[in-house]
């Protein structure tokens, strides 16, 4: 099957998956403790009749599947509900914060992959040497370090002792440097490991020998033939990694007091502002499915062997 058919298939599967996950999501939210009505009233004294009236007004007396459809119909229109605490629209709360998280993610993935890929290639080409061993051990140590502790240490060194970079709040792009580093460190170590392993494996393949036999120079053999193959899993990893980094962003944003979506999630959980929690988790779910689907598509674009049904060949 061609590339387009493959892409179309993947996209089509993505949609029911999103729906399926929203159902699971909604159910989890439904299970969350705390009576939203009581929270809404926040301690006002009201008659039980009034409570029932409010419950009916909010549709909370309906069976769960009806509530789900109400909720879904609102979501499709972009209405994610209202924050119990601040009374603002959830969607506007999120959209204010999302850009900061996106910027943090962008910078940290840039850092992570540039460091990871270059060290991975370096150690692959210098396999078995001292450089390789030292860098590899540094890599293992890097993904053993808790990101939040690394962040704390960075705060200490750069924010306090050296007073070079801001450590709290958002004062501009440079506020994102330390947080991005905290996120990037463990991730880059995994990227390095994968790159190294893939490159080593590819360099041992017969087709690399064929490339040399054709009289191609080193640069061409490494770039056009070796790298082009070795990078496929790394690129895919990038797409699958992004949702995971969002998880890390929750902790890092909280630590560095950044006005991002991750910190909003944390704060909302503490304040039991479940409408917001729901909205954020929904966004994250959609992003997860989108990036995974993108990853599937990218594999097919980069690796022609993936595009055929099982049992290919002419």
């Amino acid at each position: 099957m061609g590339l387009l058919t493959y892409v179309a298939k993947k996209l089509l599967i993505g949609i029911p998956v999103i729906f399926g996950v929203t159902i699971i999501l909604f159910y989890i939210m439904y299970m969350l403790p705390g009576d939203p009505i009581k929270l809404l009233l926040a301690g006002e004294r009201v008659t039980p009749a009034k409570i029932e009236e409010l419950r009916r007004a909010w549709g909370l007396d309906q069976p769960i599947y009806i509530q789900y459809f109400y909720w879904l119909s609102h979501v499709i229109r972009g209405d994610l509900g209202v924050s119990i605490v601040t009374k603002e629209q959830v969607s506007s709360l999120i959209s204010q914060r999302l850009p900061y998280t996106m910027m943090l993610m962008l910078i940290s993935t840039l850092l992570s992959y540039s460091i990871g890929v270059t060290t991975g290639l370096l150690t692959a080409l210098k396999r078995g040497t001292l450089v390789d061993s030292v860098i590899s051990v540094a890599g293992v140590a890097s993904y053993s370090i808790p990101g939040f502790w690394f962040g704390l240490m960075l705060m200490l060194v750069f924010g306090y002792y050296l007073k070079l970079l801001p450590i709290s709040g958002y004062e501009g792009l440079h506020s994102l440097i330390l947080p991005a580093l905290s996120l990037a460190l463990p991730s880059s170590a995994y990227v390095m490991r994968l790159t190294r392993a893939e490159m080593i494996e590819v360099l041992n393949e017969d087709y690399i020998r064929t490339a040399w036999a054709k009289g191609l120079n080193k640069k061409r053999v490494l770039l056009v033939h070796a790298l082009r193959n070795a990078m496929i899993p790394v690129v895919v990893m990038f797409f699958l990694d992004v949702p995971w980094l969002i998880g890390g962003a929750v902790v890092i944003e909280t630590l560095f007091a950044l006005p991002g979506m991750g910190r909003l999630l944390y704060v909302s959980i503490i304040r039991q502002d479940y409408a917001v929690v729901q909205g954020i988790v929904l966004i994250i779910t959609v992003l997860t499915v989108v990036f995974n689907t993108l990853g599937d598509i990218v594999v097919a674009v980069l690796d022609p062997r993936v595009r055929i049904e099982k049992g290919g060949g002419s």
Binding site: L32, G128, I145, F148, V289
Partner: protein
Amino acid sequence: MTLLIREKIKSLSSSEEFMLFLKHKRGLAGLIILSFMLFIALTADFIAPKKFDEVDPSSRLLPPSTTNVFGTDHLGRDVFSRIVYGARIALWVGLLVVLIEAGIGVPLGLIAGYYGGSIDKLISAITDMLWAFPPIILALAIVTILGPGLTNVVVAVSIVSWAPYTRIVRAKTQSIISREFITAARAVGESSLSIMFRYVLPNTLASVIVLATLTIPSAILYTTALSFLGFGAQPPTPDWGAMLNEGKDYIFKAPWCSVFPGLFITLTALSFNLLGDALRDVLDPKLRLG
């Protein structure tokens, strides 16, 4: 002549022996660090100068000294004692999480690999979907439902990360059942359950052990992250993540409250990673990047 000399030098730095020696050195280092952690965890009662919850308002935020090797925290508690008791928690939590993960993941992998077909598709789909989702968020959601506390964190983290076990066991099962002795067992009339337990499971054990060693670090890192956010161990439990949570407010006044817990988390995770890598090279080289 120079050709030969160059080749000789190259051979010295890239021969198989050199590589093997290095790998052993790393595994050995991991084992040593782990033994140290085990030691302090087991002998905590003896080597800790104070109880982990012994508050002393007059000795708040003291820097490391001969009386308090790692200093004191904001409640005057001895950091070293808390660290040492914290080792118990870390190791125990790591072990528990991995046991639960394997308890869920391994049987699922066995079933998926053995029966194949739509059961396999279903299990694989669920596993892949679960694994794609950021684990911290999901764990947060679960902890929010269940409430804070170390036990709930253990449950939450286990639920979100059994996928690698299912994947590995499934793959191994598929390769094992294609071999003749399975066909022979079936021909003799052995039940599927029996075959799975007597033949397939033992052959997956090596991979599972390696995987367990390599996933303990993630278990520790996730649980401490949740404790750091305040959802895990509650005070006065000396969980290393919780210590970081408390210590972060005094990061500039008393950095030792934050430096040591995190350092110990790192060392413990590192030891398991090094050990796991070495084990994998010995037992199952194909497990790379599983």
